[in-house]
Amino acid sequence: MKTESRLEKVLASGQLAVTSEVGPPRGCNVDIVKEKANLIKDYVDGINITDNQTAMVRMSSIAGGTIIKQMGLDPIIQMVSRDRNRLAMQSDILGAYALGMNTMLCLSGDHPQFGDHPMAKPVYDIDSINMIKMVKDMRDEGKFQGGADITEPPKMFIGAAANPFADPFELRVMRLAKKVAAGVDFIQTQCIFNTDKFETWMKQVVDRGLDQKVAILAGITPMKSLGMAKYMKSKVPGMDIPDEVIDRLAGVAKEKQAEEGIKMAIEQMQRLKECKGVKGFHIMAIEWEQKVPELVKGAGLYPRPQV
């Protein structure tokens, strides 16, 4: 084992892992974090805490992670390279580890242009792949980026994101290979709606043997309504929402759409449990955390293993 990460242990046990996420509040309310975490705590092996998601200021992911850690749960702190340079990131990683966090996700982050601080200077000192390498060097070499030794290095289990649906498709596996070469341990994918295309991507991943080197958690998002599906299809960059998803939601009464969305997500997880190379699921129930238990149970992934 490289780390003390519960996620690493679950994956090492050969069982499918489940993670989900909590977006910290846009204020200092600790209870919001606790409430959201309590909704999902028994159904996941790790809880992502987003880092100024969509480039909007929120409580810091490490502070949110600390609250979750104090609840006896397992935070996965997200870190974007948009807001910090190498100095700040390394110091935050030391701090996070000192506070008990041992699993993190390395991201470049949505451009500030998206959020409510478009006037902020984007940092992007390093990219997500450089960040993976940096965290790995800290853990395995005990080195800072500047070359100095770290006394008591942070042992982080290193995650990253992958979007099998972004363009150009032929690069998506190659870019994953770069993340693997940089030292990533696990991947949480973008929300999957086009399951066929995901399976095509996964097959290429398996053909290259990348699934042996990195644990891929398939990104699952239940659709709350037809409106949400249409919005995501037309407005959210990098989303691939096939017509069959839209049609299926359109085929049921408005008040039944949420239920149908949950059903679809469960079916999708059941299908992907059989997909070679898929080592678990990352459930992104956007403002719908209370549905996570139903999804996990429905997919036959409850109870979570004790490791």
Binding site: Q113, I129, N130
Partner: protein
């Protein structure tokens, strides 16, 4: 070249409000090519300043001059006589030119343009950023397309998940630089290179090491000798 755009007239009016006689100075280099601060623009701005003062019932005399180059003290020396006649100067050169003028004359010097970026002309009237002067050119490994200047996140190992049909997540009007790089690598038949990890960039040559300076010993030395001889 260095691109620039004329500042809003209201801002310039504000700068020169206290003065009765000013000099508008253009530059015959980059800002002429991007139609922001050449002889023509000096004429137009001066004319506008005059029309404005007439409308406002204010006394204002505007002199016009365009230097061959505003970022060289030798050329800026040529303003000596004109500068002696005015209360203030409005410079339409890039920030380098404005500062060279300001360093040489003890009267207020105001910018008449906003200096934008190092860019190339895409077609008439359209200039786009191409270089950020990072001081350690990596075009040799990126197929001649710069990810520092042209990727919104300056990713060393792009593209990110925000590439949609070759366009950047920030705007449909912005090409994804990494898509362009990939296309180019394919065109050159060297797509294998894509998978080489590009290390985190050292930003010192890009300005992270403080204000940058080039000292060419051979040239700088010969100048000293000439000065000594003189």
């Amino acid at each position: 070249m260095i691109t620039a755009e004329q500042k809003p007239l209201q801002e310039i009016f504000g700068y020169i409000a206290p003065y009765e006689k000013i000099l508008v100075v253009g530059c015959n280099e980059c800002v002429t090519v991007c139609a922001a601060g050449g002889r023509k623009e000096v004429g137009l701005l001066s004319s506008a300043l005059r029309l404005h003062s007439v409308k406002a019932g204010k006394k204002l005399e505007v002199l016009e001059h365009t230097l061959e180059r505003q970022c060289d003290p030798e050329y800026v020396d040529q303003l000596k006589e004109l500068a002696g006649q005015v209360d203030a100067i409005v410079s339409l050169a890039c920030g380098c030119g404005i500062q060279t003028v300001a360093a040489q004359y003890a009267i207020p010097v105001f910018p008449g343009v906003n200096t934008k970026f190092m860019g190339a002309s895409e077609s008439q009237g359209i200039w786009a950023e191409r270089c950020m002067g990072c001081g350690d050119c990596m075009l040799g490994v990126t197929g001649g397309i710069c990810p520092v200047a042209r990727c919104s996140k300056s990713l060393m190992n792009g593209p990110c998940g925000g590439n949609s049909s070759g366009k950047c997540e920030i705007s449909e009007d912005v090409d994804c630089a990494w898509q362009l790089i990939w296309n180019r690598l394919v065109e050159l038949g060297i797509q294998d290179r894509y998978e080489e990890l590009v290390a985190a960039k050292d930003w010192r040559p890009a300005g992270g090491g403080g204000p940058r300076k080039i000292i060419r010993e051979d040239l700088a030395a010969s100048k000293i000798i000439t000065e000594d001889m003189a």
